[in-house]
Symmetry: C2
Subunit: 157 residues, 2 copies
DNA sequence: TATTGTTATACTCTATAACTATA
DNA sequence: TATAGTTATAGAGTATAACAATA
């Protein structure tokens, strides 16, 4: 037998395929609305408030600053964001979402979360609520608090 | 203000960075034990029972069959698995874990889950148990049940 | 003819480095 | 000199296609 005993599977091993499937579920929604995944991520970030620099926006969404440039070009051409030079620092570009961008984000998110809610019906109501609470907490943890021990990787010296 | 109202963030948007951090946390553990991520995944799969073909193993772990070949070579050279021709079908290779491979997997998993458990202390005990129950259920859902609506993507015709 | 394992190739995504302009 | 944005390049990871052995 291949009994695993009382142990559980690794959290990452269980969640990784699940998240991949959730992302796959977003693809047709995004395609139907004519927006890319990064475009949707950027739009979601700017819907929470404008950004003073592209680098700050990139950092906020965990992306490289060079990677969002083409995304911003597309969103700007589509009229979903405005990118205007900062009068106070002409190197920087002030980024903000437009009403059209807000509508696009809201509509797209509504479809995405409708599917997520459908998936979550696999859980009993109490566990569903607790799961959502837990995800909110865990997603708020800093990366380094998850990836490194409490004292950090170079605490042995 | 950028008030999000009573809505929640997307599940995928919250879980993706969290899973990335969990995976990042595994990296130094795997490196210290001298095994790759894919090697650990394969070892974990074979620790649950032998595989009759490499293709079946690849499918079981959600990988391409061409991608695990180098991984199997490494694991075999390290003495963690045995890969022997199937006498009944000389095209196929029977895959199984060795005692050394089992020890490696157990030790590595112990370290990985110790860190995961440390992270989970961010949750109250009841939510932590509910979260683990929920993850078990959700990770058991078929990919297509998550990625597609209940009727499938081509049910409109 | 179909399937297993393998190798070789091409493609996608991402990070790094180099450049321009402002400060 | 340092920083914001941009572009060009290189690298890792992955999937697709073609091949040899066996069924």
């Amino acid at each position: 037998m291949a009994d695993q005993g009382g142990g559980r599977r690794d959290l990452a091993a269980m969640l990784h395929p699940f998240v991949r499937a959730l992302v796959a579920a977003e693809m047709p929604v995004l395609a139907r609305n004519g927006i890319s995944m990064w475009g949707y991520i950027v739009l979601s970030a700017l819907d929470g408030g404008p950004a003073r620099t592209q680098a700050a926006l990139a950092q906020a969404i965990g992306a490289d600053k060079t990677r969002i440039i083409a995304v911003l070009d597309e969103l700007q051409d589509a009229g979903f964001i405005v990118r205007e030079p900062d009068p106070a620092d002409r190197r920087a570009r002030l980024l903000s979402i437009t009403p059209a961008g807000h509508r696009m984000r809201t509509a797209t998110q509504s479809e995405i979360q409708a599917n997520e809610n459908r998936v979550l019906t696999a859980l009993p109501a109490a566990d569903r609520r607790a799961f959502l609470r837990a995800v909110e907490v865990l997603s708020g943890l800093p990366h380094d608090e998850i990836a490194a021990g409490p004292a950090g990787p170079d605490a042995a010296g």
